[in-house]
Symmetry: D3
Subunit: 271 residues, 6 copies
C-alpha cells in the first residue's frame, strides 16, 4: 500500500469573516515563507521535507464569494484524501474547517480534534450566518463529525459559547488552565486545527482578532511534537496579511506548517 503524503492545499476564502477580511490572501505568502532560502527544508526532528514523497502541493482551490465555497472545499479535500494525501489546509479564515472535516469524516469515522485558538468558535450563528468563521465547531459537533474536541489557548469565551461547549462536551483548556500547567491528553487518529490567533499577538500580529495573553510559538511547537498519531489532517487558518505590519506572521505559519508535516510523517505508516 502506498504511503500517504502530507499535501498543502490553499483555501483562499474569507467571505464569512465577521470583522476584517484579508485571510484569503494568506496561502501564497505562507508558501513563500515555507520555501524561502532564508531557512532550510529540515524540520526540528531532522526530516527533510524537500525529499520526494515527504510533501506535495495541491495548489489553491478557486472559491467564490458565497457559501458554494463550502461544497467546493469539501469536494477538493475529498479528492485530495482519496488520492492518499494528508491534507494540510492553508486558510483562509476558520470557516474552512467545517467542510474540511465533512470531507474527512467518511475516511475517519473516529476522529479527535485538537483546536488551538483564542476563541471557541462555537456560536450557533453569528451576524445571522451559520457558516461564519465564528461557528465552525458548532457545525462540526452538531453533525458528529468528530469524537472529541479539545480546545487549547482559549481566552475569548463568553456565556453563549460556554453553554454550547457544555452541551457538546467540548474539553476546554483555556489560557488560565494552560498557565497553571494543564496539558491535553489526546489519542489518534487526530486532526489539528490551528487558528493563528491562539498565539499571543506578540508572536503572530497578523490576525484579524488580536487577543493578548496567548501561547508562544514554542509552546505550540512543543504541543505539536508531543501529539500521538496518526495525524490525518490539519489546517492553519486566520493569517491576515493586512494586519502583519512586520511580515512576521507568515514565517510563524510556515514554521508551524513544517512541524505539522514532520509529525504527520512520523505518525503515519510509511511504505
Amino acid at each position: 500500500m502506498s504511503k500517504r503524503t502530507p499535501t498543502l492545499i490553499g483555501l483562499p476564502w474569507d467571505s464569512n469573516s465577521s470583522y476584517l477580511r484579508g485571510a484569503a490572501a494568506a496561502p501564497p505568502l505562507i508558501r513563500q515563507a515555507l520555501f524561502s532560502p532564508a531557512s532550510n527544508s529540515w524540520t526540528e526532528s531532522l526530516i527533510d521535507i524537500s525529499l520526494p514523497g515527504n510533501l506535495s502541493d495541491a495548489g489553491d482551490l478557486t472559491l467564490p464569494e458565497n457559501d458554494d465555497a463550502l461544497l467546493l472545499i469539501e469536494d477538493g479535500i475529498s479528492r485530495l484524501a482519496r488520492d492518499r494525501g494528508l491534507p494540510l489546509a492553508l486558510g483562509g479564515d476558520h470557516a474552512v474547517t467545517y467542510p474540511v472535516l465533512r470531507a474527512l469524516e467518511p475516511l475517519h469515522p473516529r476522529l479527535n480534534l485538537l483546536h488551538i485558538d483564542a476563541h471557541p468558535d462555537l456560536y450557533a450563528e453569528f451576524d445571522g450566518k451559520r457558516f461564519s468563521h465564528a461557528c465552525p465547531f458548532a457545525r462540526i459537533l452538531e453533525e458528529k463529525l468528530i469524537d472529541r474536541l479539545v480546545q487549547v489557548g482559549i481566552r475569548g469565551m463568553n456565556g453563549h459559547q460556554k453553554t454550547q461547549a457544555e452541551r457538546f462536551g467540548v474539553e476546554t483548556i483555556d489560557m488560565r488552565s494552560w498557565a497553571a500547567g494543564i496539558r491535553p491528553r489526546l489519542e489518534g487518529p487526530l486532526y489539528i486545527s490551528i487558528d493563528l490567533d491562539g498565539l499571543d499577538p506578540a508572536f503572530a500580529p497578523g490576525v484579524s482578532h488580536r487577543e493578548p495573553g496567548g501561547l508562544s510559538v514554542r509552546e505550540v511547537i512543543t504541543l505539536i511534537q508531543s501529539l500521538p498519531g496518526p495525524i490525518v489532517g490539519a489546517d492553519i487558518v486566520e493569517y491576515n496579511p493586512t494586519q502583519d505590519v512586520s511580515g512576521l506572521t507568515a514565517w510563524v505559519a510556515a514554521k508551524l506548517a513544517k512541524e505539522v508535516i514532520a509529525r504527520m510523517l512520523e505518525t503515519n505508516p510509511q511504505g
Copy 2:
C-alpha cells in the same frame, strides 16, 4: 448600601514625561480596543462587563500643560470615588498615579499598592521636576499615602533609586527574582498601577521607554487574577501610541483593563 462600580476615567496628560511625549493620546485608543467588535465583552472569569452596573465611564478629564493638572486629577478622582466609583484610570504617563493616590487616601487610609513596571519611578526629582513621571512613588511614599509598595517587573533600577527603595522600605521583585520564581504576597485593600513598560516590549512596543526582558501579557494576567481584594482602584499608564507601529499595545492595555475590571467586581462586596 449601593454597589461600587468600576469606572473608566481618562487622564490624558504627559507634560512631565522625560523622554518622549505621546501618552496623553492613549485614553480614546484604549477605549476603542476595549469596546471593539473584534472581541467580546466577557472577561476570562466569564463576567460580562457590558451588563448594567459592571462598568461605568467618567470620560476624560481636561488637563492643562502644567502641574495644575495634578490638582485637577486629584479632584476628579475624589469626585468619582465619592460617587461610589472604583477608579480605573487610563493614562497619560505615570505622573498621574500620585494625584490618584492622594484622592484615594482619605477613603482608604490602609492601602497596599502593586506596581508593575520596568522602572521603580522613585527619583527624588528628575530633570529638576518633582512631579516627573520618574518620581510618583517617591511622592506617594513621602506622604505615606500607602502602607506597602510592592514592585514587580523592575529591570531599570539604579543606585539612587536603590537608596530610595531602601529608605522607604519598598519591596522589589525585579525580573531576576521573578525569573527565579519569586511572586508577591499581597493583601487588600489594594491598588494596582500598571506601567505598560513592565511588559516586555515584544508584547507592548508602544511605550516611551522600551526595556527588553520584561513580563509577558499572560504573566501579568495571571498575577492580576491571583490578587486578593478588595481592589479599590487601578491605573494603566504609559501607553504611547506614537511608538506603537503595529497598533498592538492598545489591545494589550484593553485586555489588562478588562481583567482588572473583573477582579474589581469579584473582590468588592456587591449589593
Copy 3:
C-alpha cells in the same frame, strides 16, 4: 597589574551574508540605544557602566567589501586585546566571529564558547564561500581555536550540519531540549557569541533569518547572568536594521550588551 576593560568594537561587515544584507549598519544603532536617555547606565546587578574603567569604546573598524576584512578584524581585535581590552564586538553578520576567535586564541589557548543562535553555522561552505556567515564555527573548530562549543537556541539544524556537529563534538542544546529544561554547564574562560536570531523574532524581528520558536530576552539574560567566568570576549551579531520595522531590536541588542558587560566586570579580576 591593570584591570581589563570591556570594550565595544564595531565590525560593520556583512559582505558574506547569504540572504539579506544590512547587518553592517548595526553598530551605530546599537550604540545609540545603549547610551540613550530612554534608559539609564546601570546593569541589573547594579553596576554603572558609565563609571570610568567600566567600559571603553574602540569605535568601528573600516572594512572592505571582500575577505581582506577577516584579517583586518583579526588585527583589530588583537590590538584591542593586547591593550587589555575585553572585546565586545558589535556585528555585522556572524562571519566576524571567526577572525575574532583567531585573535583571541594566542591569549586564551583554553577557551570555551557559548553560542546562542537559531542555526549551528557549521557549514563546510555555503554558496561556494568558506567564510560565509553560515560557516564560522566550522572554521573555528577546524583550527581548534576553542575547546568546547556549546550551542543554545538551535532550531534550524539540517543533515549536513548535524554531521559536522558530530564530527567536531559540538554540544547542541536545541530548542526542544531547552523547552524540556536542559541548560548548558559551562566553565571559563568563556567567550559568548550571540546571534540575535537565537531569540524568537517576536522579541528580535530585526534579523535576516527569522526563525520562530526561539528564546525570550529574559531567558538569554538569565543565561548570561548565570555564566561562570572569566568572560574574556563576546560578540552580538546579525542585527539587521532593514528588517526592524518597529526599531525594537536595537534596544534588545543594547540590553544584552549591557548584561554581557556586567558579567565581564563581575568575572574578571579587577585592579
Copy 4:
C-alpha cells in the same frame, strides 16, 4: 479693540465615524508635533507663533459618546469666539464641523467655507445617522450657516451626493478639475475645513478612508497661503493615529495648522 487670537481647541470625538474609529485620539498628537523641538515655531511667512498673542490653546473639550457632544462643541466654540479667539479646531472626525459652524454663525452671518476633502460629506444621512461624519455639510447648508461652500480635492463623489451638491449650489473642484488647473476664487470672511484625506494618502496615510489620487501637502499650503481674509475659523479633522504606521500624518496636521495660524494672523485686523 483687542486683537483676536488664533486658538487651538481639541474636539476628541469620533462616535459618528462610519468605518473606523481613532480620530478622537488626534488632538494631543497634533499638539505634540506642533510644539516639537524637531521643528521651530516660525511659519513660512516668518511669523513666530510662540510670541505672546499669536496663539492660544483652549485645551480639549470633554465629550460623551453620544450626540450631546454636538451641543457641547457648539457651546465650547461659542465661548471661545466670544472671548475673541479665532478657533482652530483639531478633530476628531468631520462630524465636528457642523456644531462649530453653528457656533460661528451668529458672529459671522456672511461666511464662505473652503472645504478640502476627498469626499463631499453631503449625505442626507448615513447608516441612519443624520450627524454622521459623512453628513456635516448637508446640515450646514440646510441651516444656511454659510453663504458659499467650495469643495477642493473631491474624488469620492457619488450620485446621491451629486444631487445634494446641485440642490445646495455647492461649488465642487474635484481632482480632475484641480489637475486641469482649476483653482477656487474665494472672498472672506472665510472658514477653512481641512479633512486630511483630501491629501493623497502618500502624504497623509493616517486617515480612516484612504482615497489615492489626492492633493500634495505643498498644494494645500499654497492654497492656504493664497486665501483672502479674514479667516475667522478653521478645523483640521480626520487624523486617525491608528492608521498612521509611520507617524507621518501628525507632522502634516501640525504643518497645516501652522500655516492656517499664519494666515489667520495675516488676515485679521491686529491691535
Copy 5:
C-alpha cells in the same frame, strides 16, 4: 449584440519574479480594497460599478509553480474574452501580461499597448528565464501581438533594453521626458498594462522593485481618463503585499482598477 462587461480575473502567479516573491498574494487584497465600505462604488466620472452589467468577477485562476501557468492564463483569458468579458487582470507579477496578450490577439489583431512601468521589461532573457517578469514585452513584440508599444514612467532603462527598444520600435516616454511635459498620443483599440512600480514608491511602496522618481497616482489617473477607446483589456500587476508596510498600495491598485473600469465602460459600445 450584447454588451461587453469589464471583468476582474485574478492571476496569482509570481514564480518568475527575479528578486522578491509575493505578488501572487495580491488579487484578494485588491478586491478587498475595491469593495471596501471605506469607499463607495462610484468612479470619478460618476459611473456606479456596482450596477448590474458594469462589472463581473471571474475569480482567480489556479496556477502551478511552473511555466504551464502561461498556457492556463492564455486559456482563461481566451474563455473570458469569448464570453464577452473585457478582462481586467489582477497580477501576479508582470510575466502574466504575455499570455494575456496571446489570448487577446485573435480578437484584436490591431492593438496598441500603453505600458506604465519603471522598467521596460524588454530583456531577451533574465536569469536564464525567457518568461521572467523582466521579459514579457520582448515576447509580445517578437510575436507581433501588438502594433505599437508605448511605455510611460520608465526610469530603469539599461543598455541591453535600449537596444531591444530600438529594435522593436518601442516608443519610450521616460520620466525625464514626462517631467518635461511629453505625453503619449494613442489611438484604440487599446490595452493598458500597469506595473505599480511605475508609480513613485511614495505612492505605491508595496512593490518588489522600488525605483524612486516615478509618477503620482493623480498623473496615472489623468492619463487613464484621457485615453481614447476602445479599451479592450488591462492588467494591474506587481503589487507585492509583503513590501506594503502601511497597506497603502492595495488601495492604489483598487483606485486605478476603478478608473480603468470606468474608461472601459465609456469607450466600449454599450447595448
Copy 6:
C-alpha cells in the same frame, strides 16, 4: 592627465545631531540599495556606473564621538581629492558638510554650492554647539569656503537664520518660491549638498526632522540633471534609518546618489 573618478566615502557621524540620532548608520544601507539586484547599474542618462573608472568606493571613515571627527573628515576628503577622486560623501548628519568643504577649498578656490534642504542650517550656534548639524553653512560662509550658496526646498526658516542669510548673501529659493516656478541659476564649479529632509517626508520619511511640504524625488532629479558643471563634489546626508519604517528612504538616497554620479561623469573632463 588621468580622469577624476566619482568616489563614495561614508561619514558615519551624528554626534552633533540636535534632536534624534541615527544618521551615523546610513552609509552601509545606502550602499546596499545602490548595489542591490532590485535595480540595475545604469543611470537615467544611460551611463553604467559599474564600468571600471565610473565609480570608486573609499569605504567609511572611522570617526569618534567628539569634534575630532571634523579634522578626520577634512583629512579623509583631502586625501581622496588628492587621489583624483570626486567625493560623494554619504552622511551622517549635515555637520559633515563643513569639513568636506574645508578639504575642497584649496583645490577649488571658486566654488558654488547648491544646498537642498528643508532648513537653512545657518545657526551661529545651536544648543551651545558651533558644529551642530544646524550650523554648517554659517561656518562655511564665515570662512568664505564658497562663492555662492543657493538653497532650495527651504520651509523651516526663522528670524535668526533669516538675518544670517541676509548677512552672508545666501540665495534662498524657499518652497513658496519653488511652487511659484522659481528655479536656481547656477554655474560651476559646483558642489551639491543634499539633505534628504529637503524632500517631502512622503518621499523620504527616514529623516530626523520631518517637515511636510517639500520637494518630490522627481523634482530633485530634474534639478540635478540640469546642473552645469563641473560637479566637483557632493554629499547626501541626514538619512536616519531609525525613522524609515518602510525602508523607502535608503532607495531614495541611492537613486539620488546614482544621478549625482551621472552628472559628475558628464560634467568632468574625461581622459
